[in-house]
């Protein structure tokens, strides 16, 4: 069948206007490839994009891993994963990193037993979902293992809270590349350090999760096959054909967009299921 338009959803995380601007080149390319008008949407929170994909008003989006899991669990027939981002070092994910104050003497999760532990917020993949699932698997019920489990409200609040001693330890995310004292190359630590909120020298890493996959690029399943193929192909070739544009779409340094399958997200899906059961 024919399509009359193509709608692209972009997730939050950066200034909305910047997101629109940086994706303008991408939009143009898709428009050229498909020959129909392409519109870009940038709702403030995940839900806007997710509802759009579920409702069939958005045709394609870059999602977080958890967002994909949510869509899949709501309606497995809504979207299919196509590509993901490959980082400069060849990895395709990031880590949830446990940390504590350097002067607290805590250097591992075992040391943190009986202390106050902070997560970011219940819906965060790296700030709660994955670390909580992994820690629960290894140490049993966290509410009894730690003295208290708190939600700080966000990654930044966790970092600041631990640095201030409000919490004894917590988790946040980073790409795990580069130096700890810079807050790694990218992630919540880096942002906090760059903003001058914390001095990374005062913090130590005490735990690291398994690799959390980068979010996928998904397309709506119901789209005509050739549309799906065209858009996927175009995006997969983006780093080769237009590096600047690819940089803008990836929102930073990366190596390539590479194909990915649903299986890469089974871990996150399982973590979500685990949480749901609670």
């Amino acid at each position: 069948q024919e399509i009359t338009g193509f709608n692209l959803g972009i997730l939050g995380g950066e200034n909305a206007q910047d997101r629109l601007t940086s994706n303008e080149c991408y939009r143009k390319k898709i428009e050229e490839a498909l020959g129909v008008p392409v519109k870009v949407f940038t709702p403030a929170d995940y839900d806007g994009v997710i509802q759009g994909l579920l409702g069939g008003t958005l045709d394609m989006a870059w999602l977080g891993a958890s967002g994909y899991a949510k869509i899949y669990l709501t309606d497995p027939e809504a979207v299919e994963v196509k590509l993901t981002k490959q980082n400069a070092d060849g990895s395709t994910g990031y880590y949830s990193i446990g940390f504590a104050r350097a002067d607290s003497g805590i250097t591992s999760i075992d040391d943190a037993k009986g202390k106050v532990f902070a997560f970011a917020e219940p819906n965060s993949t790296s700030g709660y979902l994955v670390p909580a699932a992994e820690l629960t698997e290894k140490y049993g019920d966290l509410k009894t293992y730690f003295k208290d489990v708190k939600f700080s409200g966000g990654h930044e609040q966790t970092i600041v809270g631990v640095a201030n001693g409000d919490f004894d330890a917590g988790v946040s995310w980073a790409d795990g590349l580069g130096n700890w004292e810079d807050g790694y190359n990218s992630g919540a630590f880096r942002k906090a350090a760059d903003a001058g909120l914390v001095d990374m020298n005062n913090l130590v890493e005490i735990w690291r999760s398994t690799l959390i996959p980068e979010g996928p690029m998904v397309v709506r399943k119901a789209l005509p096959q050739d549309v799906k193929d065209k858009v996927t192909q175009l995006t997969a070739d983006l780093w080769e054909s237009d590096k600047d544009c690819a940089y803008a779409v990836a929102a930073g340094e990366a190596k390539d967009f590479i194909p990915v399958t649903h299986d890469a997200y089974l871990g996150v899906l399982a973590a979500r299921k685990l949480q749901e059961a609670q």
């Binding site: 909305a16 403030a44 759009g52 579920l54 409702g55 008003t57 004292e181 942002k191 760059d194 020298n201």
Partner: protein, 447 residues
């Protein structure tokens, strides 16, 4: 003349009623105070005082009206960049550094003002702090080694194995294995009018005026005035053009939602008014529908509608429309119940039909009330549209919430806040003006 001269019972009644009122006068504030105390405890006000991050407030306040420029040297490659807010689009060209940064023979000198000077050179970096001395950092085996003036280390200097940082009133300095950075804070919204790549950047208002009116073309391809307008409108840092569009989109959502709701609620209001709708059941049903619509909040409607219509301004407008249909339905039916029956009777006595009675007996007298309500909601919906816009991905609200969530562009937050306040004020005056113009002085709807 004594108190005995009148019936004692009267004096008693009166003094007793004074006592009663006195107790009431004391009890009400006491109750309020007690409730506030309870609330303070339940909101953990004491804990809050401890949690409050006043330094965050300071950063925010400073960022509201100032900007910082990063002077960064990559310690591995030795490359030097000077960038406003450290952003790519605010990066100075290497041959056009601001005048407080000078590079000569591989030595970078950064003048932070008030005598504070930072120098980067091949051996490391130095920060000369007046009244304290020189903080000298040089790498040994990749790790920074710091030499401080004698005495205890002040708390504004942080020295650790891999990183040294100094924070003073003049700026911030940090040295790590990978890079050395200096931040200079300056007041003002940098690049608000023109970005660095514009030929008009850094020129004073007078010069700009001269260029606009009489000056030679800076860019031969376009006149100066056109260039200025275009460079301002397409400002890459502030996106003025898009911001204006966002404002318009917000007002559009509010306008469509409010007016649409009014048009739908008017006939429904008749069906829910006891003096217009004789069938009790219908009336009751409509009232409950209005209650339901209002009870489910606009935000929830937004989410429900997002599934059906996807993100975009129409979804926002529809969300406002639905919520307000509930409010207007209730308000309108109340207004209809309060009408003066005499006018309707007068029209009825001429043999007018049902619709005609409504048109001439009812509509003229409720119009001022309705109009004034609608205009009032128009103003307040402009505010709601800001919030709803954020969810449906449009309007100034999206820009604002995004800027706040990313937590670094506080000057943009300030800019958007000012714009929102101005927009709501403008809508307020517009609706006030329309009210006066259309209703001509008589007191319209209260409540």
């Amino acid at each position: 003349m004594t108190a005995v001269s009148h019936a004692p019972s009267l004096a008693e009644t009166v003094t007793r009623s004074f006592d009663r009122r006195r107790r009431l006068a004391l009890a009400v504030p006491a109750l309020i105070l007690a409730y506030l105390l309870y609330a303070a405890v339940s909101f953990d006000l004491a804990g809050l005082a401890a949690r409050a991050r006043m330094d965050n407030a300071a950063i925010l306040l400073a960022d509201f009206w100032s900007h910082k420029t990063h002077v960064t040297r990559d310690n591995r490659s030795g490359a030097l960049t000077v960038a406003i807010e450290g952003e790519a689009k605010g990066t100075y060209a290497p041959d056009h550094f601001p005048d407080w940064v000078s590079v000569a023979d591989g030595i970078t000198t950064i003048d932070l003002g008030q005598g504070h000077v930072v120098t980067y050179d091949a051996t490391g970096a130095r920060y000369d702090i007046p009244g304290y001395g020189v903080v000298d950092v040089h790498p040994v085996g990749g790790k920074p080694v710091v030499t401080l003036p004698p005495g205890p280390v002040p708390d504004w200097i942080s020295v650790a194995e891999n990183k040294v940082s100094v924070t003073t009133d003049a700026g911030r300095f940090s040295y790590s294995r990978s890079k050395v950075e200096t931040f200079r804070y300056e007041p003002g919204w940098e690049q608000f009018f023109f970005t660095l790549d514009s030929p008009f950047y850094g020129r004073g208002p007078l010069e700009l005026a001269r260029l606009a009116l009489v000056g030679d073309r800076v860019d031969p391809a376009r006149s100066n005035i056109a260039g200025m307008v275009s460079d301002f409108w397409h400002n890459k840092m502030w996106h003025h053009g898009d911001v204006v569009w966002a404002l318009f989109e917000t007002v559009l959502m509010a306008f469509l939602g409010t007016m649409g709701a009014a048009l739908i609620a008017l006939p429904l209001g008749f069906l829910a008014a006891s003096n217009m709708m004789p069938v009790r059941l219908v009336r009751f049903a409509f009232r409950r529908v209005f209650d339901f619509i209002r009870g489910v909040d606009g935000l929830i409607w937004t989410i429900v509608l997002s599934r059906a219509f996807g993100p975009g301004p129409m979804t926002g407008a529809l969300a406002i429309l639905i919520t307000d249909t509930g409010s207007f339905g209730k308000l309108f039916s109340e207004a209809l119940e309060n009408i003066d029956e005499k006018q309707v009777e007068g029209i009825r006595s001429t043999g007018a039909g049902r619709l005609q009675r409504a048109r001439f007996g009812v509509i003229p007298q409720v119009t001022p009330v309705l109009l004034s309500q609608v205009l009032y909601y128009l103003e307040s919906n402009t505010r709601s549209a800001t919030v709803i816009g954020a969810i449906v991905g449009g309007g100034i609200g999206l820009l604002l919430t995004q800027a706040i969530i990313t937590q670094k562009d506080w000057e943009e937050v300030a800019y958007y806040m000012v714009l929102i306040v101005l927009m709501v004020m403008a809508m307020d005056s517009l609706s006030g003006w329309l009210r006066r113009r259309l209703i001509k002085g008589d007191a319209g709807g209260k409540s």
